[in-house]
Symmetry: C2
Subunit: 399 residues, 2 copies
Amino acid sequence: MTSNKKKLRVGLFGFGTVGRGLYDLLKAIPSRQVEIARVCVRDISKNRHVTDLEFTDDADDIFNDDSINFIVELIDDAEASWHIVRRALEQRLPVVSGNKKMLARHLPELIELQQCTGTALLYDASACGSIPVIRNLEEYYDNDLLISVKGILNGSSNFILSKIFNEGMPHGDALTLARKLGFLESDPTLDLDGWDSLYKLVILTMHAFGVYVEPERVFTFGITCMSDADIRFAREKDRRIKLVGHVEKLPDGRLMMSVMPHLLSRNKYIYSVEDEFNGVVIKGAFYYKQFMFGQGAGAKPTSSAVMSDITACLYDYRYEYKKLHGHNIPHFTNDCTLRIYMRFSADSQLERIGFEEITEEYRSLDQRYVVGRVSLANLHANMEFIRSEGMFVMAYPEN
Amino acid sequence: MTSNKKKLRVGLFGFGTVGRGLYDLLKAIPSRQVEIARVCVRDISKNRHVTDLEFTDDADDIFNDDSINFIVELIDDAEASWHIVRRALEQRLPVVSGNKKMLARHLPELIELQQCTGTALLYDASACGSIPVIRNLEEYYDNDLLISVKGILNGSSNFILSKIFNEGMPHGDALTLARKLGFLESDPTLDLDGWDSLYKLVILTMHAFGVYVEPERVFTFGITCMSDADIRFAREKDRRIKLVGHVEKLPDGRLMMSVMPHLLSRNKYIYSVEDEFNGVVIKGAFYYKQFMFGQGAGAKPTSSAVMSDITACLYDYRYEYKKLHGHNIPHFTNDCTLRIYMRFSADSQLERIGFEEITEEYRSLDQRYVVGRVSLANLHANMEFIRSEGMFVMAYPEN
């Protein structure tokens, strides 16, 4: 209760969907302790129809303003975000960031910087929008009981999949609608090819298991190449296709990760996560499964998550990265097998992937697929190949 | 990361379902920092088939043992629990408690005691078993955006309702099965009459809105009087009956609370919460709805929640009761109306409840019910009357 009187004068970077959402939130529910002092944007000439904020395009105007004691960074550009966040920490200014890509790439340096400077960086808003999953993994699921974290981490691609699956909307229309609603990143391949989910998974894995895994090491495949044939296959099996991020401690103690479409049966919690919602299932040895569910994209939920990060800083909250210093830290591996569905067009493609076992095979003039077990390492080694050949793979769990 | 080397020697009170669960958990996944030093039980002569624990029936054996630096209190008796927890705090021993009833009755004194002694009392395990809902309300949903918390807070009654609804199991058989699985409190009316949900709701309300409401002030009604006719009514309307705890900030800023069966339609998140699971929906102005879901009863999930409380203490975590010191603290009221279904047997009963509006009425030789709007204050004033006359009421929201 010590920090109750603290006042934050925020230097805000970025005034896109989330930045403006934060401004709207503070308008709707004014805070006695938080005010936006100045906003740094790329293009200062753009008319934003906001009269009560001071805009600048020079970061120095924020970093040299002694009255500003807090940084909120909500820009798309990962490189620029890294410079801002690093500078903030070096100046011992607590900072909230929403840039998944930057965070996933620079986590080890950012953790070190926080320790050296004794300054907080919070980013709960970066993963799963309004669901406080990072803080829960960090604070609550903090013992050796944790087995896996599996979830729909990207609201935009899930929105598109929902429209296609439930309303039979053509792929292109669903994409247009998602963009119109402000659900897509400025570069939509981030959402659709699984990169956004990957960055979030890397962040979650740090807080879940205390392990940093470079994004490049994780098999990542999205829904861009999904065809009507794949959707038909899912419907025939009474399953839904969802883009799933997954990290799991294997029985031998090693850690596997993947981002890929999953064929989900009705008995899975995340089967019912629709539209722009995110859902995360946390599985433990003793508490079985827990499920957290909430809006994962859009101005309001994301900006309220940013606001929660800001409020946490008011109370001097910091991630402690407890698990990073724990014993029994698991080692990352791609050396495991999984059951997948794979659509392909030529036998050479099939051979290259090297299935260990094929249990179902279909060939017609215009469609070929197999179901079988394959090593995750093989998939990872052929990630670019699969993508460039227009093939489609999905995890296809037994139940 | 400062407290990483701390070691807790735990004085444990109670060795029932959860106490033994904690012992099993520490056996299965040994902790370098947590060990049970001694266990205080009521009946020391009982053979517990445990050879590596020291039992006593004298609390002094724990409180006078200088090597014990932590208390875990997992007993049923609220009065005894209060003495243990108070004494622990007075001796500046951090304490974890799972006694909902004791907590709900003594929250204001316990908060003061924690402040005076600078000693932590944690009780996340007390509400919703394995779901970290208290800590999330305290830490994450900590701004003025929160509108309501609504949920299935009692796993045992939900288990029974699921068996009756989904498997057509007779009431008595469902009760027997729940008891066999260790889901029921030693006094089953705590679960079935809504008291357990009420105590949890009082605790959640403190952490959600910063308000302490004495349990007596909240309309509380359970499923003991539920009849086949009520179940038939629910089925006809394609709804399910669930026992729901509910706290909501009304548009005028006041706070209403209730514990009662709800007729839930399929579009509600908690409609699908089955068996011994708990589910909580947190609604906010900006983030719409969030849903948390997990096992709410049984040895394993509850003891893993206790373990999380213990681990939090290792890192000097304390509830800050931030909202208690906030501005805009809402006032509790029963002065609001709700739409309910009420089964009754005599017109005098109906008159006494004083409906403001009746929109549906059914009378046959063996069954009478109405649907209509009634003031919550009237229901509260007639709580004992409704119970003693064998009537049955359920909230019946429009959608």
